[in-house]
Every structure is written in structure tokens, then in C-alpha cells.
């Protein structure tokens, strides 16, 4: 069971969290302005990197806040977690 550091509550067990998919995919301000390819890109296309991945989590059974995390998909180590709205930290993986 992962130990996930909620930016509000500190390190907490995975049982309290739900995963929320890839982070930093903002909903377009004017969806109508997007053509079909652009909308498809927003709606469906997601990264699946080997290594650091920015992803959303929600501390559902805790403070109930969404937040973002950089997790290394090869080791399951969380490099950093940060609040929704904050920029993705400019970090490389622990091994890099």
C-alpha cells in the first residue's frame, strides 16, 4: 500500500485516496473554439511515460482535496506532491 503525502494532511495510506488520471490537462476555456482534432486530443489523449509522471490524486477519505503528484512509474516512488493550481515542479527522476 502506497504512502502518499497529501499537500494538506501529510503522509497518509493509499486506502484514503483515489487516483485521478494525468495532471495538468486543463479544460479549454472555450471548447467550442476547438476543432475536432484538438477536442479529441483534450478529451482522450493521455501520456503513459516510463519514469516521472504528473498525475492527479484525490484525498477522498481525508481532506477530500484534489492535488498533483510526480510519481516515478518504474519505482512507484513519489518525488513530490503539490497543490492543484501549482505549476509542475521542474524535476528529474530520482535516478536521473
Amino acid at each position: 500500500m502506497l504512502l502518499i503525502t497529501c499537500p494538506h494532511c501529510g503522509p497518509r495510506p493509499e486506502l484514503e485516496f483515489v487516483h485521478g488520471g494525468e495532471a495538468h490537462i486543463a479544460r479549454p476555456a472555450q471548447p467550442e473554439a476547438l476543432n475536432a482534432e484538438e477536442w479529441t486530443e483534450y478529451l482522450y489523449m493521455r501520456a503513459n511515460p516510463k519514469g516521472l509522471h504528473a498525475e492527479r490524486w484525490r484525498h477522498l477519505h481525508g481532506c477530500a482535496r484534489f492535488f498533483n503528484a510526480l510519481r516515478d512509474t518504474t519505482t512507484d516512488q513519489f518525488v513530490v506532491t503539490y497543490k492543484t493550481g501549482e505549476a509542475r515542479p521542474d524535476l528529474k527522476g530520482p535516478a536521473a
Binding site: M1, L3, R27, E32, L43, R56, R58, R65, D76, T84
Partner: protein, 995 residues
Amino acid sequence: MSAPFRTDAGGQIDRRKSLTFTFDGRTFQGVEGDTLASALLANGVHLMGRSFKYHRPRGVLGAGSEEPNALVSVRRDKARVTPNLRATQVELYDGLVAQSQNRWPSLNFDMGAVTSLLSPFIPAGFYYKTFMWPRKAWDHLYEPAIRAAAGLGDAPTEADPDRYLNRFAHCEVLVIGAGPAGLAAALAASKSGQRVMLVDEQAQFGGSLLAVTDALIDGKPAQVWLDETLATLAANPKVTMICRANAFGYFAHNMIGITERLSEHQAHPDAGAPRERLWQVRAREVVLATGAIERPLVFPDNDRPGVLLADAARIYLNRYGVKPGKRVVVATGHDEAYRAALDMHRAGVEIAAIVDARPYPRGPLVEAAKAAGLTVREGYAITGTIGELRVNGAYIAPIIAAGQVGQTETLSCDGVLMSGGFTPSVHLFSQSRGKVVWDETLETYLPGQSAEAERSAGACRGRFGLAQALADGFAAGADAARHPVTHSFAVEAVEGDPKGVVGALPHNRGQGAKAFIDWQNDVTTKDLKLAVREGFQSIEHIKRYTTTGMATDQGKTSNLNALGVISDALHRPIPQIGLTTFRMPYTPVTFGVLAGMARGDLFDPIRTTPIHDWAVEQGAVFEDVSLWKRARFFPQGREDMEAAVRRECLSVRKDCGIFDASTLGKIEVVGPDAAEFMNRMYINAWTKLGVGKCRYGILCREDGFVTDDGVVGRIAHDRFHVTTTTGGAARVLGMMEDYLQTEWPELNVWLTSTTEQWAVIALQGPKARTILEGLVEGIDLSPEALSHMSLTEGKICGVPTRLFRVSFSGELGFEINVPAEHGRKVWEAIWAAGQPHGLTPYGTETMHVLRAEKGFIIIGQETDGTATPDDVGLTWAVGKAKPDYVGKRSLARPAMADPARKQLVGLLTQDPAVVLDEGAQIIVTRGQKPPMKLMGHVTSSYHSAVMGRSIALAMVSGGRARRGETLHVPMPEGDIAVTVTSPVFYDPEGARVNG
């Protein structure tokens, strides 16, 4: 009968406490402190099992969890049969009933052993090569036959009656293994004042110390030091010690899974006493002190009963007071076997010879053996054994060149003690994703770079010998606790060379000889060599092809020897061959302990409404809706569901029905931006919805498909009472929070679940107003004051209420929300008031029929995650002037407007008595053969009492344009002709709702 191989004194047993047990129906005596294996050995019984593939007779090989041979079933009753237990770990209790496995009819005479005669014909990969053709025979012939022949042990025939517990625990330092290194680590860590947990798989703490007879630690005999250390640790309130604890898995972020055996070892566990407990321990730091496992020697017929590991034999002698035989051959490539030989010799076991494969063994243990007058055959290999169900002789021969031996001699004996050295237990380290590295000096894999906050200590990282283990353990414990404490142990012990031999010994026994590598899966050197000859090079492939290391023991005794043999065959050094991944569990765990407390009534929460008990008292039949119990119908007398639902439906249409809608999800959307938020989420327009008005809301996902619906009431300018489907409550709130928190955090609006704040009583039918009138205070129920789709606040039966005038039945209807605590009281008051008016309670089944008569959809029944609002006829609900809402852009995609999309329609069977099957497919022309062109499917289908016939809803391609067409529903009995209609069957003008 006194046990003939029991010594007179010594060990960790109590000879005064005799225990009676049976093995394969024979009665034996053991003593307190015995394991099943030690008790059988004390009685001279070595034969404890048959091997998996060849059914060869097998004796006990080890003394601990590494045991591959002596697998037994322990039976308490029909429901309590535990197969595949290692006899070496089964603690003896009075009345224990154990049976050997994998034999028929008996262990001594096993018909299955004919496979051994066929063994030249069942080499590695036999199954893959043989049962390939014809393909059809696999399902009906080969697989059932192989499954019957395979499988180890029998499962119990009744449900597991035992209880299992769970426990989450946290500590700063978790020490796994309570041998000398682990004890020293716990001792050091405990001095920090932090929380320390010490776990060990055995019934007693001490590990190898439990069999030490001659060493001094800090001037005290090892046993005294052990007792004092355990007392010190036990007296520390910050130290938790758990024995009988199998640390089976190393999970992410220092979570260790441990199963603790609580009552398995007791003769008469208290009724209801839990059998096992699962510990989920989160440790800041872990110390792995998991020791090392003795390696067998690989030589022909090394699997005969009576052949066992030398150190295991020493443990049986020193800890359990059991001699392995009267005259034994000690075959070795490692110094520790000399210690075993010396202890045997002192206990009166005759040593036929010490046969050492090393050319010039030297050192204090070797010298001590020679000084004691024991015969040492240097540079000799054991090349075979003689005997059937028990070894009665051994072949030995001098090693004259690489892979060659000279003249064979025969030694008579009733036991062979063997040792190839010790393999560090890196299982948990490897599970933690740590990388093992090959150590050239010790010729073994040792823990390398850690991936988690852990360190290994003692024999599991190659620090063999008592002095090294203690020092290494103490340092590891101090390091883990980040506590600068030191101690240098004064150890007086004779210690030998840690290096042993790896791989197979040379022999001259010809091609037919079977030298076992993996006892449990019956893998021999020949199998591995064959795999290499057939082109396999990767250890991962060889493992799967030969099954070496894949049995329940996970190759504890076999992995390194297998690598040695493969290395020889490939002419490549071991580190270039690699090592397979160690899988959890370290030793098998029961399904029961993994299921834990989640069974029976505690399997899942059973959610009930405030009105539930009333429905129970009325004899309602319930159905599960997500975690809720909902009343499905209220049968009277001997009514079945069909009859009850018909009566309930007609009552609602004619008089009035009362229905518990408390499970509906409810979300309070509050704040100055509440209407703006609702506009962005729901497809409907909310800005102009007046306070006190309601609207049927539709929620789409961003991909444009309907995901939920429900009535939304505007309580105040800045407050909406949103209802969701019962099953969608949590999902909808999560979706709303997602948009609010991550897309529109600037909105001044907040969401609060009020699902369980309110009990919801639906009153539906022409007499609903009449029934309610006398119960409300400050509420005008007249159609002028409270029209359809409006709400008001006031009191009912003295309780505050949010009273909605809404209808999911098409009749005049009210939904009365009252605080849950008062739900039953108000329900009963309405019930009493309704008696003169024919009020009838109804359940979800009637609710479904009533709404289907009106063509109202149910999310998840008419919709399946691919239906747009237009598909289900809800275009009227879309707020077309809104610039945006969730799903709007997707709904503008051309495919969403395709006229061939499946659309909601009604279906009427030409025979009104026929009720279609829900889920049935729809075709255009009758009499088609598969593959048919499927035009849609039936989503809801009922007998409608008020219509006097069957009705159905369906999703049909281009359905709305097909009104009046005849389509067909293909069924096994033949096609059923149906006519496409409007989905609204009853009161299409909608007059009744305004009653």
C-alpha cells in the same frame, strides 16, 4: 511406546509432557515443544511424503520453512483441513491429526509411483510437447487428467468456519527475523525509545541460537543470553514482539504484510478464537535479519528418506532432542557439517564418515572432528544412495579430475546429512525491489542497492557466524533507529569458513541417475541440462520450462544449485545467467487471512434507510441497490412479485402509494455562484429557475454521454437541492468536486452531501394531496400554491420539511424530505392518515413499472454510457442558449447527430400477453440466421396492469423515425413481432400529474 530416537536430555522440549498424535492413521507420541517433523523423527519415521511428479518416497529435508518434502494436511474437522503445511512448522498438540499427501492408497505403497517408472518419458517440457494435438482434446481429455494428477493436497469440503483478524501497525523500526542478528538489531533499536517491532516465523524467538550448545555471548551461555535478551525486549513497552509470524510480503513504501498464527498450534482453541491475524505494518525503517537457508548437495538419489540437511539434523538433535539415525554419513562441501557431525558424535550417533568434496578442508571445525576421531574423506563426493523407503547405504568416490570420480565405495548407514553451504535469504529484500549482487568470495547473491528504507543484517547478507551476526545486527538496529549506540559482543564460538559448493557433484552413475535440484517440483540436473540443450538460455525461460523454483517453497533450497548447473551447461558464470524474481508470499498464506474480517455480515456495509425497519415489519422483499437494501415489493398473503406489483401499480394509479426514496443521492450546492456552477455542470439552464421551483436535471460527462439525472430544487437564490440516482451519488459528487476544485476554483460555491440528512417519502397518486393536507403546517398544498415541479419549506407532523411536488409515476405526487431521525415517525403518520384513502406501500419494482408506463428513463437501464440526451429523448432539457456546459462540445461532434443512432422508443408486442426479455436484441426482418444485423435492444420490459398488456422500452437505431414499424425480437423459440411506439404509454397528455 517411547520414541526410540529421542535423546535423554537437552533441547527446547518438555519430555514430561507427552502428546498423542496420528499420522496417516497411526498413533504416535511426541512431547511438548515438538514439531510434527521432530516428533515423527523421534519415532524413527523419515518417510513423510511423496514427490509431486514422480511420486518418489520423500523424507524430511529441513527443519524450518524451507522444507520442500514433508508437506502434510492437518485436519480438525471437515471444514478445517489445511493442506500443504510443512511438517517442520506444524507445532505438535495433543490429538493432532495429520496426513501425508500425493499418495494413493498409502504412503508406503503408492500407485502414482508408476510415473517414476515412466520418468524417462516425462522430461522437462513434457506437457508442452505432448498434449498439443488435437486441440479439442485439451479441454476434455488432457487438462482434466493433468489437473487430477497434479494439485497438491485436498481442500476442505465445507466453508471455513474460522475467524481471521486484521491489524494495522506502525513503528519506527521493524526487525524481521529473531535470530542473533535480529535480536541484536532489536536490542540496539529499542535503546532509542522508539517503537520497535520484532517478528519471527517460528514459535520461539532465537532462530539459530535455539540450537547452539557450545557458544558464549558476553560471557554467558548462548541460551542464557537469549533468555535475558528476550526479557529485556519484553520489558520495553515500546517493543512489540510477534512470533509465529510469517513476513510474507514486502509492499511499496515499507509496508510489510505479516500473517500471525494465533490458534493453529492449540489442541483446543477457544470457540470463536481467531485463527490468524493479518498485520499490515508500516515501518519507517526495516531491518531484514532473515538468515540463510542451507543448500543441499546435488548427487544421484539425494532425495531418499533419511537424507537431510546437516544443520537441520543438528537442530533436530540440539533443539528437539531427536537423533536422525543410528549411523550416518555426513556429506559436505562446507564446514558447518562438521559441527553437526561433532554434535551427533557426542550424542552417540555413529558417524560412518565425513565425505568432503573439497580437496583440502582445513580449519578449527575440521580439526575438531579429526581430533574427535571422526573419519574424514577429503576430496570425496557422495555419488548415490541405496534403499527404498529409507536410505540404507551411500556410495562415495574420490574426485579425480573436474567432473570425474574414481573407484566407488559403499558405506552402510541409516541417514545421510548433507551440506553445500548456506544461501542468504534475500527474498524480502528482492521483493522490495532491491537489486541483488553476486559475491565472488562467498559465491552467492547478496543484497545490493536498497530501493526502500531497509537494510539487511547477519547471514541474509553473508555475515555468517555468531560474532559477525550479532555485531552486524546491532549496528543495523542502531542505524535504523538513527541512534548512536554501540556494543561489542564478546563471543566465544568455533566458527568455520563461510564458503561452500554450488551446483552438482560429479558422479559415475550413468544417464539414468536422478540428482534432484528442486525437491518439491521434482526437477533434476538432467531437466535443466535438457532445457539448455533445447536452446533455452534465460533463467526466466528455463524456470518456466522446467518449473524449477516454482513450487510452493519458491525454490528456497534449489535456486542457487539450479543456477550452478545451468552455469556449467551454458559455460557461463552465474552472474551472467541472472536470477529470477522472488515472488511473495515468502511461505504460503491462507485465503482466510487475506479475506480477513470481510466475510458474512461484515463483507460489505449493508446500508438501510430510516424506514427500513418498518418495511421489514410489513414483510417487504428487499433488493440490493449498490450497498443499500431497498424494499422491492410488499407482498400480501401469498402474492408473488408479479401479483404484488400489479396490485401496487393499480393502487397508485387509482388511490395513492407510499414509497421510500431515501436512498436518492442528495447534494446541497450553496454559494453566490451556485446557479453558475449548475449551468456549467448540467445540460439544463438554471439561471431563470425561480426559488421554490424544481427542474429535472441531466448530467453528461465531458464526452457528451448521459451519466446521471435527478430533480433539482432551488431552495434559495444561492442554494440548490440536487438529487442524484441512488448508485450515482458518490460518483456525481466526485465529478462535481473535480470540476469545482480543479477547473473553476474561483467560483464561490460549495458542495455538501446531504444524502443521509434527509429521509424521503414519496407519496404518489390522485389522493396524495388529501392524505397530506391534515399533516402539514404552514404549507399550502393547493395546485395554485404548489404546482407540479415546485417545492416549499414548512413543517409536517411538527418536523421541518422540504416538500417537493414532483412525480416519477405520472400521478399527482409529493416527495417529503424530513430529517432522517424523524423519517419513520413522519412515514407512520402519513401511513395512518392514508388508511381511509387506500394508501398502499410500494417498492422499487412498482416504481420501475410506473415510470416505464410514462417513458421515464433510468440511468444505467436505458442509458449505458453511450447515450446522449437526444438519444433518450431529452433534447428539450438542454439549455441551448448556454455558451458551455460539461459535454456540450462533444455533443457537437457530427457522429452525435447521426440519425442512425440508437434512440429511445416504446415497443408493443403484437401478442399483448408476451413480456419481452430485457436485453433482447432487435432486428428488422424476421427469420434471420446469425450473424444478424442488430438494430438495438430492449432496455425495460414489464407487464403493465393499467394498460392491460405488456410494454417495453428499447434503444433502436433511428428509432424515432420508425414509429409504427414492425420489428422483431429474435428468441430461441422464434421471432417476436413488435410495433415501435412512443415511449409514453400511459396518459400521454400528462394530465394526471397536474391533478
